[in-house]
Symmetry: C2
Subunit: 167 residues, 2 copies
Amino acid sequence: MAKGFSLGTVEVASSPQERFAEFLQSKGKRITSQRRILVDHVFQRHDHFDAEELILNLAQQPAASKVSRPTVYRTLNELVDAGLLRRMTLNGRAVYEHDYGYPQHDHLHCTMCDRLIEFQSSELKNLREAVAMENDFRVTGHRLIITGVCGDCSSKQHRQHSPLDLV
Amino acid sequence: MAKGFSLGTVEVASSPQERFAEFLQSKGKRITSQRRILVDHVFQRHDHFDAEELILNLAQQPAASKVSRPTVYRTLNELVDAGLLRRMTLNGRAVYEHDYGYPQHDHLHCTMCDRLIEFQSSELKNLREAVAMENDFRVTGHRLIITGVCGDCSSKQHRQHSPLDLV
DNA sequence: GTTGTTGCAAATTTTTTGCACCCAC
DNA sequence: GTGGGTGCAAAAAATTTGCAACAAC
């Protein structure tokens, strides 16, 4: 199970850091400062982001917390594998959001301002299973994106938000 | 070959060619041989494809029906704008399918063989409207992809189909 | 004859990889 | 100490764009 601390208490992995550490160890991978920095940054705020935003964000931090572009990409993939992040593709580029300790949900995507609005639907899960059953399919997940125009953009039809103006 | 797609008993009014011509004219664009060639190719068979497949496919045709790579990309975008094709993103690359004269549907995506299985669900439309209403959102469309492993791949766990082995 | 279109090559954008050095274990 | 990790530069993959020749209207 979880590794005990010196007091002998059994810890359940609760923070993203712990959870990621567990994943890495299970894969024989190492816990490096870069990986810690990235997990910190990614889970400090709950919003949608892409690799470029994360890199830019890190560039504005003290030199100590800089991580190279390839490592950012490598680590994002690991975080997806670990089940901590979920990846979706918006306009060709990958967009990430928290997947761990965050309820299952889907998205409304405004094509004017690129904003993502989250919503939950219990019916969808039933639908998913029903369809899978009919098609002899073993489900591991799903992605539903409803596209359209959000209320804000509907009113001020002329003005547009900047791309990737996220939730 | 088939000029319209038959929806049960009702045939749609115009062919993709006609429909595209209409779109082009409404935009002040021109009907060129390349565009005709592409529409022909794309609507000759009903399956999922990506830009590279289409280009390869064309390369094996008589010289007369060759179209350059940029033009293929440009025209695919126009066909999406015209509502003739639907675009979705599979593993970073764009995948297209017919959208005109073809019933609304969604997909099961097998992550082992990359096959896309189509299905229809009427409940989804209700769900879509309900969610949109709640969020003050004007819906133009949606995309649902249920990921998992298809029956074929579940049985022969070891063997894998080649990527983009399509429906 | 105008104005949009094509093809070519090259640029852009996003993401991945090879490799020498480095560090967590 | 050793094997995995990092950063750098460079490659790769997918798509877009500038521009001169060209064709549709």
